[in-house]
Symmetry: none
Subunit: 244 residues, 2 copies
DNA sequence: CCTCCGGAATGTGTCGTACTCATTTGAGCC
DNA sequence: GGCTCAAATGAGTACGACACATTCCGGAGG
């Protein structure tokens, strides 16, 4: 009995249980990212709890990027991405806040120029092929006007480079940054909105060639240019929405 | 292409603002992991909000591992011990695996050189003071042989620079990288183990001066040198443990 | 003096209610 | 058809009350 210890933490708050039950419910209902979920009141009655507890559970789920709440509309299932789990910055990023967008792209610039630099000296032939086909997918998406295809290729391209850097931490941060950018996509801001898709495919090609040629600095420069142009595209789009 | 009218999301719920304010408050009060924080009611009155909103903000902060709530006791700044497995990269990082340590330092090098570069052009006088006093704390810890004091100063120094970069994403990734390094500390590997403490204080001074002088490249170079030396220190210590 | 016990004090967890404010819907009008 | 505006829906905020866990403290008993 001296001192203590264990028994202290043997308690589990209800909002945690409810959070798990909500995830379970999403799975049972077969809800997919973007789908609408039951309202707070419905969840409260169905799970035999109060709305207060449900709300706190939802806050947890939204903080880790599984649920999205919109005032006046409802609750929505968000990207699952159970991989490295869960948005550490999810709650604070607002895609229409220009300061936040600048900040995010500044962050991406740091992560991805570093990743490209490393990839140029470390990429294996298989990884080079992955990057190349991703760029090709992107190009096809642009040519055929399928923005979904473009987005998928873009995703594979940037994550492929990160993977080729052979640094898991960089992969995780690149992935996280992209996940945050998807929040923008959720409100209608796509990377392909402007006329940037054409330039983007060219820039992708330039980045790929620099990496394939094993030129770290050229790869970093090309990546920086690409991200700067993408940011400029975003900036125009947001301003158009706010003032246009 | 129409629909999606404008600023569909140009609204910011209060609990997010409060969550940020709480983080800011923690920083201002100089609270360290494990320290007790103000109660929910105190936070509510101090931040001019209601307990409801404060509670939801706390749920977010606890979900991302910054705050821990214990029933009947109070709120605590998280020491992350309950999250070793749930942290984003916690699962696969092994502090004694040299490859992983290299990888982590490579990551830190990317994050912190970028942070120093930005801090050199953005740091406010107050932030410069924070960095300077942290470096001084570090030096005192070295001179008096108090390694705990050194570690605390080191922590404040690097996080202070990240904060001065004015990019929350960089702050988060620097913090995350340090958290992982603490896992090394947990098994007995401290940054101060070798004779590196002496050099470290000098390197800190060099970094600080470069930032204060507003020289981004010098700041980045000094930071890179510092991290490389720290890594070397780690490398020696690990080898000593494995083979010694 | 020390230990043990029990109640008071503190503080998070849960519940209910009543609002506000953003968004959507739909009925009625032009 | 397209427009306006009011009702309905649903998350966000606030307040008050109580349940439950933990800690603090003083008094009874040895």
């Amino acid at each position: 009995m001296d001192s203590v210890s264990v028994p202290a933490g043997s308690y589990r708050p209800g909002y945690e249980l409810v959070a798990e039950q909500i995830l379970q419910l999403i799975a049972e209902l077969g809800l997919r990212p973007g789908d609408r979920m039951p309202t707070e009141n419905e969840l409260a009655t169905q799970l035999g709890s109060s709305r207060t507890v449900v709300r706190e559970a939802v806050k947890i789920l939204s903080a880790i990027g599984r649920v999205r709440a919109q005032k006046g509309r409802g609750l929505y299932v968000s990207d699952d991405d159970g991989m490295l789990g869960s948005g550490r910055w999810g709650g604070f990023f607002h895609p229409t806040d220009l300061d936040h967008v600048y900040m995010l792209f500044e962050f991406r610039r740091v992560q991805e120029t570093a990743a490209s630099r490393l990839a140029a000296t470390r990429a294996t032939p298989a990884e080079l092929r992955t990057i190349e086909t991703a760029a090709e997918t992107c190009r096809q998406g642009h040519l055929t006007g399928q923005s979904a295809l473009f987005d998928r290729g873009d995703d594979d391209f940037h994550l492929g480079i990160a993977t080729a850097s052979h640094n898991s931490f960089l992969v995780a941060s690149v992935r996280e940054a992209r996940r945050l950018q998807y929040q923008s996509a959720a409100i209608g801001l796509h990377g392909t909105v402007g006329g940037h898709a054409q330039e983007a495919t060219e820039e992708h090609a330039a980045i790929y060639q620099a990496i394939r040629d094993g030129d770290p600095e050229a790869a970093a420069r090309a990546t920086a240019v690409h991200l700067d142009n993408t940011l400029e595209d975003y900036r125009r789009e947001i301003q158009r929405r706010v003032f246009g």
